[in-house]
Amino acid sequence: MIRCDIPKAIPIKKIMQENPYVKTFVFEHTLNSQPGQFVNLWIPRIDEKPMSIAYDGGKEFWVSMFAVGPFSKAMHSLKVGDMVGVRGPYGKPFEFKKGQRLVMMAGGYGAAPLYNLTVRAIKQGCTVDFVVGARSKEHLLYVNRIKKLGASVKLHVATDDGSVGKKGYNTLILEELIANKKGKKIGCVYACGPEPMMKKVSDICFASKVNAQISVERYMKCGFGVCGQCSVDPKGFRTCVEGPCVSNEVARSVVEFGKYHRDKTGKMHKF
């Protein structure tokens, strides 16, 4: 069979507690994914959700999640050996060029897919400024993992309440990095996180003529381009196939980016 988009049940190999709210689930399965892509995870009679891939080591992959709704709460109740349906990888990945200086702009749980990108990029000779933003210290995700990536990755932290790192949004750090002309020229900025934050990253990069790629997500049902639920205005392209990872130019052509999105019935809501 050439195509098969039917979930395959895979046992959880390992569960890691990242912070008080987030667990990482490890699956022993060869996905052949690229950073920025996602998988659909399925728990029978609960739900199936698109989840970004936090790491793909070839023989195993990781997904990190906060227990926020019925699906992620059910995931958090699972034990090693419990089965979860997996299909994918889906979506257009991030792209990078060898040997460049990259900036990761991670808001909240956006740190996970950008960690995945960073692991790949430094193997290709890139250097990375990894900017993590979170509500407070206890919400920070992946900072210890990022610190272990070695000298080619520099960690920057911002928290809304100032409990660690810079007080305020992580985009303040991006502005400083761009303004500082001493280091190597920034090749590309990558954004993954809440959309208002990504819009800010998009605006800053556009104004300072720095390349950027943004992960633009919309409510998804199938994840592979059939249901049409994740189409964006005005071009009508699907964030699950033509996205989620798009150039800043494409993101800025999406009139709803940073402004509104549609729910599972197709009704519009403002951010």
Binding site: R45, C222, V232
Partner: protein, 316 residues
């Protein structure tokens, strides 16, 4: 070979229309499909007041078939106003507005409200097989119910009406005749087949959240061809949108040869990408060009006459 056709008085650049249910949630998405070669587009089913649809997973597929139980999600006539309005700005191709409801009186109301948005054609969905738990047996399974819905819609709109029929009956041609007698201008055949069911071995559970889902894709092409063949045979003057398992230009030509005027394309988006419309058109053109065919009128319904086998009648 010219691909343009006329259906219920509406001119289409080519016979391929996006089938209802695939993409088409927004005006922009419908335009995206036209940019990829569709001759016309059908909206997702529009409800009077909206409907949530089923939980995930809603679509599963492999090389042979797709099972879907998306469950007709929609935000109602207000959303249709916005999205159809958006599509109508510089309308790139004819629009078929697909409507659905659970009660006959509500069909009449949604038909009236959707007509005010000026689509070219109204398609009436009385045949979705994946909402039976909510609404019972589809109207398309009985000549009486199918005709009653048609009459109710006919009374409220002057636009051409197409009734979308179910293959899950033994007498599709009789049902087609009943809806035409009740005032339908055309037939769309077929909706998805079944419903069907798939099980995950490891968890021992049905995979679709709704458990069952309508079957589409390559596996159903023989069923859709047979349905269109039967309807065209019974009602040769009634225009048909032939839908079901059309993935290639060859599939589309077969559909036209059994009697379809327009050809619905939906699941092919999964198999060949959103530009499947352009690919299918190119394949039809290439086939026709090699054989000196001038237009699709030369091919429509030809499978019924048996022109080729007549050459050999003296040998039987």
């Amino acid at each position: 070979m010219q691909l343009n056709v006329e259906f219920c008085g509406v001119k289409f650049r080519n016979p391929l229309v996006l089938a209802s249910g695939v993409l088409g949630v927004t005006g922009a998405s419908l335009k995206f499909v036209v940019e990829n070669g569709a001759g016309g587009v059908t909206t997702k089913s529009i409800w009077r007041e909206g409907h949530t649809g089923h939980p995930n997973p809603v679509i599963i597929a492999n090389d042979h078939f797709m099972l879907n139980a998306v469950g007709l999600p929609d935000a109602g006539i207000e959303k249709a106003h916005i999205e159809i309005g958006e599509y109508m700005k510089g309308k790139p191709a004819p629009l078929i507005a697909n409507i659905v409801e659970a009660r006959i009186a509500d069909f009449a109301e949604v038909a009236e409200k959707v007509s005010a948005l000026h689509p070219d054609i109204i398609e009436v969905n009385i045949s979705c097989p994946n909402v039976e738990d909510e609404f019972g047996k589809p109207f398309a399974c009985s000549t009486h119910d199918a005709a009653a819905v048609t009459r109710a819609v006919r009374a409220k709109t002057k636009l051409p009406i197409v009734i979308k029929l179910s293959p899950n009956v033994l007498n599709i041609a009789e049902i087609a005749r009943a809806v035409v007698d009740a005032g339908a201008d055309g037939i769309c055949a077929i909706n998805t087949v079944g419903p069907g069911l798939l099980i995950d071995l490891e968890t021992r559970e049905p995979i679709l959240a709704n458990k069952v889902g309508g079957v589409s894709g390559p596996a159903i092409k023989p069923l859709s061809l047979k349905a269109v063949y039967d309807i065209h045979k019974a009602l040769p003057k009634v225009p048909i949108i032939g839908t079901g398992g059309v993935i290639t230009g060859e599939d589309a030509l077969e559909m036209i040869m059994v009697g379809a005027t327009l050809v619905g394309v939906g699941t092919a988006v999964y198999y060949r990408g959103v530009d499947c419309f352009q690919k299918i058109n190119d394949e039809m053109m290439e086939w026709g060009k090699k054989r000196g065919i001038k237009n699709l009128d030369e091919l429509r319904g030809v499978a019924h006459a048996g022109a080729y086998s007549k050459k050999f009648q003296n040998y039987s």
